[in-house]
């Protein structure tokens, strides 16, 4: 998904899991209506979508593997989630497997605040995997990474999307990256979708039009 600053990309993703409250309308996520949902109902719905954020939002004083396991908190009953020691063994296995999947098996016990930006973002992706969501929503996941780490993260997201069959929506600021990795490119202006097409059928002008007249 491409769009100028302030066009509503992040707002859309945050509304999709109701981290933001939409002013009006409805949010249907994997078949469930989120607006007006409360408590358990809302949490069940949120579990279906895994978020990867622009700033890597890991719990800094916890290890990488614990952070990955936190993705699955929503499925744990309260008594098994009071402490990480009470997490089921199956979850620990899954968390380690998810970390291995993003190439960080060796960093499992490193504290989150000692990881590099790229590593941390991969841990966040592992957390999304561990959540066993049906959909991954990534909000500018490479905005704070150097080109090399950005490349790694996008390759990883693409790979996971294809191998795991996970629908993945990635907000990007660099059209060239979108064209390189996406199957579909969605352009939005002021909250409205202006195109939604495979990259091959889009030309530069239509993409450039997204950023015209926008304040940057």
């Amino acid at each position: 998904m491409l769009g100028a600053n302030g066009s509503g990309k992040s707002t859309l993703l945050r509304c999709a899991v109701r981290l933001l409250e939409p002013d009006a309308g409805s949010v249907v996520l994997c078949g469930a209506e989120l607006v007006g949902a409360h408590g358990r109902e809302l949490r069940e719905a949120r579990r279906k979508a895994a978020m990867v954020f622009q700033q890597v939002l890991l719990v800094r004083r916890r290890s990488a593997v614990q952070n990955v396991a936190f993705g699955a908190l929503g499925e744990l009953p309260l008594r098994r989630s009071l402490s990480t020691r009470l997490f089921p063994a199956e979850l620990a296995e899954r968390a380690h497997a998810s970390l291995a999947r993003v190439g960080l098996a060796d960093a499992a016990w490193k504290r989150a605040d000692t990881l590099s930006g790229g590593q941390a973002q991969r841990v966040a992706i592992a957390r999304a995997l561990c959540q066993r969501a049906e959909l991954v929503l990534a909000d500018e996941p490479v905005a704070s990474l150097d080109p090399h780490a950005a490349e790694e993260v996008l390759v990883l997201l693409g790979e996971i999307a294809r191998v795991e069959g996970l629908a993945t929506l990635v907000v990007l600021h660099q059209p060239e990256l979108a064209f390189r990795y996406a199957d579909r490119v969605i352009g939005i202006v002021s909250g409205e979708i202006v195109f939604d097409a495979p990259p091959a059928s889009l030309d530069e002008q239509r993409v450039a039009a997204l950023y015209e007249g926008a304040e940057t």
Binding site: E44, A49, R127
Partner: protein
């Protein structure tokens, strides 16, 4: 010369902004009021340089009668200082548990409801506003003389103090991990346990230890009004003119305060 020109000339010759005349009149009145306040305070407290001089004289006299320290009260002083510490420890611990229950409600950024927030803030505001001394007077009546009433007083007042500091620490924290876990479908309690607490556990421990240190001092003077402990011993010795006993008790007191302060500081430095 027109009036405005005169004003402009005046303005050019001073650093004061125009209309400063009225302001300086106000300032003068304010200064006078302030001075009156201090004069009143001086008279109200019977402050006098003569008393200060006599007081100094008496103090020297007292010091003379306070040596050598009376060793016979040493074991009692040690026992009392342990009681003082226990009182502070228990009071602080109770306050800590209660504050931890209040914080999820009293921090604006994680509170489940505005009403819960207001209610929790009210509890914190009221208990913080009421001094531990007043609480002690109340609990002395309620549960009788003795250290337990001081435990309750310390706990009641510290709930407000610790609760406020904890809630502010939570309000200042990085909300990122909280959003991340909420987005993944974690419940409020799960988010609190795994995203909020790890981020502020060190701050909490530091604040709790600092509060323990402060509470040891409070227990000393609350002891004097009937709570027992070292403060009570010291107060009695002075009332009974047993200055040599008081010296021993003061020495033990000093060691207690220093040890608590040093240990709490050491732990705080280790965890930050």
């Amino acid at each position: 010369m027109s009036e405005t020109a005169a004003e402009a000339g005046l303005a050019r010759r001073s650093f004061a902004r125009p209309r400063a005349l009225r302001r300086s009149a106000l300032g003068l009145a304010g200064a006078a009021a302030g001075a009156a306040l201090f004069v009143h305070a001086w008279q109200d407290t019977d402050a006098s340089l003569t008393s200060l001089f006599h007081g100094f004289h008496n103090t020297v006299n007292l010091l003379g009668r306070a040596v050598p320290p009376d060793g016979s009260v040493f074991t009692d002083s040690i026992r009392a200082s342990i009681l003082t510490f226990d009182t502070a420890l228990l009071g602080t611990a109770v306050a800590l548990v209660l504050s931890l229950l209040l914080v999820p409600l009293a921090a604006r950024n994680i509170t489940p409801h505005r009403l819960a927030y207001e209610a929790a803030r009210l509890v914190i505001g009221v208990t913080r506003a009421i001094p531990d001394f007043v609480f002690a007077l109340i609990f002395l009546v309620a549960v009788g003389l003795g250290p337990f009433s001081v435990v309750l007083a310390i706990a009641a007042h510290s709930v407000g103090v610790i609760g406020k500091l904890f809630a502010e620490a939570v309000e200042d924290m990085d909300m990122g991990p909280v959003d991340a876990l909420r987005a993944a479908g974690a419940s409020r309690l799960q988010v609190f346990l795994h995203a909020v607490l790890p981020g502020i556990a060190a701050t909490f421990t530091g604040l709790a230890l600092y509060r323990l240190d402060t509470n040891v001092r409070s227990v000393l003077y609350l002891g004097a009004i009937g709570g027992g402990g070292l403060g009570f011993l010291l107060y009695n010795s002075l009332q009974l003119f047993q200055y040599q006993q008081a010296t021993t008790e003061l020495a033990v007191l000093l060691v207690l305060l220093l040890v608590v302060e040093r240990v709490s500081l050491m732990i705080r430095q280790r965890i930050v």
